[in-house]
Subunit: 383 residues, 2 copies
C-alpha cells in the first residue's frame, strides 16, 4: 500500500495534466494547479493524531519526510458553542485552528507544502504574506533545513514578524498590502534560487489545508454538517475544504448533499462578496483594502474563480461583515463560550448571525465555523 | 462502569482523608490535598482525543459537565527535536503545551478544576496568577457560567490580561509579584462568595495537569522516558506528572524505574534549586525574584515539599539557568527545529545542555521536555 496515492497534477481551468514528481508552480495557462490521487484502495484513516492520518490523500511520498517536518499539526477540536447556538436556534460548532504549531491554520499548508518541496529538492522558499502564512512557512522551512524569504506588510501583526525572525528566515517589510509584498517577492525570484510558495502558486499548500474538511467529516462520524463558514482572504482553506468534500464523496466516506460553503469577508475588503453577488466568475481588485481582520485583507485572490465555484456548486453564499461587529462577536464569544477567537474567526460568528437573521441558515441546522487562528496572537487589537 | 473512579481526597502530609464530594481547599493541617481513586477496574483509555480520555482517573463524575466545559484540551504532540538531540547525543522530545486553548498548559488545570467546581456548586472563583493560569481559569469559568476574580502582577504578559478582560472576568493588577497578588485575593475571599482556586489550594487543578504524565506514557507506547524536564514555578505540573506516574505504576500501565524528574528554574528565582541542593524539605522565600521566564517567578511555592519529594523519590534533580541562556536557546530551537518555545520551555533546553555537559544525562538517554506554552504569547520579549 503506497503511503501517498498521488497520481498527477491537473489544471482546473484548461485541464492539462502535469507530472506530480517535478517541481511545479502555475499551469502554463496561468491557473493554479490541483493534486489528483488514485483514490482506489484508499482506506479510512487510523493513523496518528495529526493531519498525517490522511497521508494516502496527501502528496508526500516518504514517511521519513513527514517524520522530519511534522510538528504534530492537525486534528484540532470541534468545540460546541452551546450558548450562541442555542440563542440562534442552531447547532454551532467551532473548529479551533488556533491549536496548531504557529497558532494558525496556515501551519497545515506549511507542513504539507514544505514537506513536499523538501522531497522535490527545494532548498529555499519565498512568499508574500499577511503574517501568519509567512510565519508558518518560515518555521517549517527552518525545520526542514531550508532558507526562507518572507515579505509582509509593515502593519502585519508583530508576533508574525518575530516568528519569521526567530526562525532565521529573511523578513522583508513592505509599505502597502499583500499584493505589494507579492511584487517584492516576484523580483527576488528572478535572480535567486528560491521556490515560489505564494498562495496557490504551488499545488501542495492547499493539500494541507483540505485536511480541515476531512477532519470535520471524521469528527462528525463521517458525515457533513449543513453549512461550513470560512473567513476568506486568499481562500485556500475554502477551496481545500471543497476539494476534500469532493474527494470524500468519491471515496464514499460521505454521502448526500455537500454542505453549503460560506465565504466571510470584511466590508473593508470584500472582492469575493462583490463578485458573488454580481454573478461574476472572477473578482475585481479591491481598492484601499482595510480591516481589523488582517489575515483576510486580500484585494484580489488568485484563486477567485475556484472560491466562487465552490460557493456556487454547493449552494453556498458570501457575506461581508463590519469590523465593529467582528470585535463585538469576539468579546461576546469569549464571555459566553470561554473561547478567544481571532478576529477572522469572530467574523464567522458575525456572518452566522446575519445568515440566521435573514433565514439563509434554517432553524435547527448544524453549522461549522472555522476559527483560523488563536486570539492570543493579537494583543492590543481591542484597545 | 463509573465515569470517574474518584474515591476520596487525602492529605499527603498528615494522612487525613476527606469526602471528595464536598468543596475542599487545604487540609486542616495546612497542606494541599490530593485526589485518590479506586484504581481497580480502571481501563486503558480509548476515548476522545483530549485529556478527558483519562476520565476514569479524573475527578469529574458527570460526562455532561465535561461536555459543557471542555474545549478539546490535551493530547498535545510529542515533537522530536532531531537536531538538538543529535548534537547532544540523546533522544530529545518536546511535549508542546502551546497547542491547547489559551496557549498554555494551564488550560489542563483550569478545564478539570472548573468542571469539578461547577459540579460541586461553585458560582465564582478567585486566584492570584503570573498570567497564564488566571487567563485559563477566567476563560473556562466564563464557559462554565461562573464569575472570576483574577489578580496578577502589573508586569504580567499583556495578552494574559486581555484574556481575563475579554472573558468578562474581573482583573486586578498588583504592584509586586504573585505572592502580593495572593494577598489581594485572600482579602476578597473573606467577604465574597468566591471559591479559592489558588495554586494547590483546591485538589483538582493538579488532576488536570497530571494528564501530561499519562499522555507522555501513552504516546511512547505505554512506557516512561529516562528523564522528564519541567520548568518549575508553582510546580503543580511536576507534582501532577509524578502523581500520574505513581498511579500508572499501580495500574500496571508502566513498569520499571520511574523517569528522573528535573525541576528547572531561572537563576533569578530558584527557591527549589536552593532547597534541593541544601537538602532542605521546604523552600525559603526568594527575595527580589526576577526572570524573563515570567511564568516561573514564584518566590515560595506552597507545594515545595511535594516538588522536592518528587525530585528525590525519582532520583531527579533541580537546575537553575540564566535568562541569557534561555533566550539563546529559544532562538536556537526555532532556527534548528522550527519550534517557537515559550521562555519557560526554552529554559528546559538550557537545563538539558547543562545536565548533559556534566554527565547527569547519559549518552543515548531519552529525555522529554515540557514546553509549557506557546512562544507566540510573548511578542517583544526578545527585543
Amino acid at each position: 500500500m503506497a503511503f501517498s496515492h498521488l497520481s498527477h497534477v491537473e489544471c482546473p481551468r484548461c485541464g492539462l495534466t502535469h507530472d506530480a514528481d517535478t517541481l511545479l508552480n502555475l499551469c502554463s495557462c496561468g491557473s493554479p494547479l490541483l493534486a489528483r490521487y488514485d483514490l482506489a484502495g484508499v482506506e479510512k484513516p487510523d493513523g496518528p493524531n495529526s493531519l498525517w492520518r490522511y497521508h494516502q490523500v496527501l502528496p508526500v511520498r516518504d514517511p521519513d519526510t513527514v517524520a522530519a517536518v511534522s510538528m504534530g499539526e492537525g486534528m484540532t477540536p470541534l468545540v460546541n458553542l452551546h450558548r450562541t447556538g442555542q440563542s440562534l436556534g442552531i447547532t454551532l460548532l467551532m473548529k479551533d485552528e488556533g491549536l496548531v504549531p504557529t497558532g494558525s491554520f496556515k501551519a497545515r499548508g506549511a507542513a504539507v507544502g514544505v514537506a513536499r518541496a523538501l522531497e522535490l529538492g527545494v532548498r529555499g522558499i519565498a512568499m508574500p504574506t499577511n503574517g501568519n502564512a509567512g510565519a508558518a512557512w518560515a518555521l517549517y522551512a527552518a525545520r526542514a533545513g531550508m532558507r526562507s524569504v518572507i515579505a509582509m506588510p509593515r502593519d502585519a501583526p508583530l508576533i508574525t514578524r518575530e516568528e519569521v525572525e526567530i526562525s532565521g528566515g529573511e523578513l522583508v517589510l513592505v509599505d502597502g498590502v499583500i499584493s505589494d509584498a507579492g511584487k517584492v517577492i516576484a523580483e527576488r525570484l528572478k535572480t535567486e534560487d528560491l521556490f515560489d510558495a505564494s498562495t496557490l502558486k504551488e499545488p501542495y499548500r492547499i493539500e494541507g489545508k483540505k485536511t480541515m474538511g476531512y477532519e470535520i467529516a471524521e469528527q462528525l462520524g463521517w458525515r457533513s454538517p449543513d453549512v461550513i463558514v470560512y473567513p476568506t482572504g486568499g481562500g485556500v482553506g475554502l477551496i481545500g475544504i471543497h476539494k476534500a468534500l469532493l474527494e470524500m464523496r468519491e471515496l464514499g466516506w460521505v454521502t448526500g448533499e455537500l454542505p453549503r460553503l460560506v465565504a466571510v469577508q470584511s466590508s473593508g475588503c470584500a472582492p469575493i462578496v462583490k463578485a458573488f453577488e454580481s454573478g461574476a466568475e472572477t473578482a475585481e481588485f479591491w481598492e484601499d483594502a482595510r480591516t481589523i481582520a488582517f489575515g483576510i485583507t486580500v484585494p484580489k485572490p488568485i484563486g477567485d474563480f475556484l472560491i466562487l465555484d465552490a460557493l456556487r456548486e454547493t449552494g453556498g453564499t458570501a457575506v461581508a461583515v463590519d469590523d465593529e461587529q467582528i470585535l463585538a462577536d469576539q468579546a461576546e464569544t469569549a464571555r459566553l463560550e470561554g473561547v478567544f477567537l481571532c478576529p477572522e474567526g469572530a467574523a464567522t460568528i458575525s456572518a452566522v448571525r446575519t445568515l440566521r437573521k435573514d433565514g439563509w441558515i434554517a432553524d435547527g441546522e448544524e453549522v461549522v465555523v472555522l476559527n483560523t487562528g488563536a486570539g492570543i496572537k493579537y494583543p492590543g487589537i481591542r484597545l
